[in-house]
Amino acid sequence: MSLGAHAQHHLDSLITAWQRLRAQPLASAFSILVIGIALSLPTGLYLLISNLDRASNGLAEHTEITVFLKPKTETATALSLAESLRNEPGIRKLRFVSREEALLELQRSGLDDILTSLSSNPLPHALVIEPTQTSAEQIRRLDQRLRQRPEVDAIASAEAWARRLTALLDFGIGLTWMLSTVLALALAAITGNTIRLQIYARRDEIEISRLIGATDRFIRRPFLYFGALQGLLGGLTALLLSGLAILWLNQSVAELATTYGSSFRLALLDVPISLLLLVGGALLGLAGAGLSVTYTLRDFD
């Protein structure tokens, strides 16, 4: 058999599958919607996490690390330390705040009465650092490096906060995978069940085809294409549902972000993930159909 004839048969099987989908529009629409909803749950969770990650990165861009030097550190030593740190990797910006400037800032903030009662300036020199990298891990490393300096007394950073957020995001990613796996099985089961019902509805046709020489492969093919098509359309539905949800939520997010002086908006799924959703849906549909058709055809033997 020529390659052209083989390709033609695949095309015919695809057309047959499409015709079977269209022959029962309501049943097909419900199946596709159920698959779409099942796929949109992990998709929605993924979107939530990726947007949270993006939002936290945006906040972290403004993260500052305040390094308090030991009280007895001389100004010259502090300036020298500031100069050497400016050339270190991981530090985008460094501002030296002398103990005198710090006192002035405190006085301006309304603590003048308390400060005048003190006999001397209790504040240390400080370095306010803006890191170049903003992930929790990178902030933690920078924090460790700074603590090794003998002049450093204490550090106030967003590292703990960033670590908690990262842990939360990691948990979310794990949850997405778990949900994806469970719902992938559900998708395969939904498709498998649809295919099983179809096979029983076409029992006569299958038996006649076998009697006149059809191989199982010939019989299976339209069902496999049906499963893949259903999964693909389910993926497309999930894509549309998640897109609509983002558009709907973005209004509230915009209002919330404005109160923080941010222009943050929820992002839609990017192209690779969208493709993964479509191809994944099709492959899961194919797998469900494959299992179902194999086991159901055995019942006919």
């Binding site: 004839a5 048969h9 038996e207 085809s209 009697l211 006149i212 020489g213 191989t215 033997d301």
Partner: protein, 216 residues
């Protein structure tokens, strides 16, 4: 061409349908298999068509022992056979043309070539003007002719016909027999299971009688 060697077939429950049957049919022969209802005529055709397997013995078609065929190779063997069923086994939700196209699609013949061959087969059995009809709208004789068109469209050299004229009146029966005889004159080997003695006498071909599972 077709050789049955000591073939026995019994079904679960112990009922013996065929017992130690030996048979030899030459290429290009037209043979009637007759006997009373339940004599084993249909079982014999099913064994030759590899629809069922013998309990014991060998069935050879050409040089191949089909009683030893694996399940996965049976469909490829069936492509060499045209089968005509008593109950037609047509797809009633498809058109006449689609029914005849099915064996071609199974053979991966598609497009214009498939349509041309299907129309030629319908022409041969006199159904060229009914290609768009549904089989349910055809008469019994026309349905049987459609079944023949489907059997011959793949150009098999062996045709197995199980009671092809059952439930048909005389005119239709002779129409069907005329088509089968023409195929035989074209070189095809044809086995016909029938209990219609008049038909057998009229066509004067080789006759095999099955009684109590044995052949005479």
């Amino acid at each position: 061409m077709i050789e049955l060697i000591n073939v026995t077939k019994h079904y679960p429950g112990g009922h013996v349908t065929l017992a130690n049957v030996d048979l030899h049919i030459q290429h290009g022969e037209m043979v009637f298999i007759t006997g009373r209802s339940g004599a084993g005529k249909s079982t014999l055709l099913k064994l030759i068509g590899s629809i069922e397997k013998p309990t014991s013995g060998h069935i050879k078609i050409g040089n191949e022992d089909i009683s030893r065929l694996r399940r996965t190779t049976v469909p490829y063997f069936r492509l060499n056979i045209g089968m005509i069923f008593q109950d037609h086994k047509l797809l009633y939700d498809r058109s006449v043309l689609d029914n005849v196209l099915l064996p071609l699609h199974i053979r991966e013949v598609h497009g214009a070539e498939a349509t041309r061959r299907a129309r030629a087969a319908l022409e041969k059995v006199g159904l060229a003007n009914r290609e768009r009809s549904r089989p349910i709208t055809l008469s019994g004789g026309e349905q049987q002719r459609l079944c023949i068109a489907r059997a011959i469209v793949g150009r098999p050299r062996l045709i197995l016909a199980d009671e092809p004229t059952a439930n048909l009146d005389d005119d239709y029966a002779h129409e069907i027999m005329g088509i089968l005889q023409a195929l035989n004159e074209g070189g095809d080997t044809i086995l016909i299971a029938t209990h219609d003695q008049d038909l057998i006498v009229r066509y004067g071909k080789r006759r095999l009688v099955l009684a109590d599972g044995t052949l005479s």
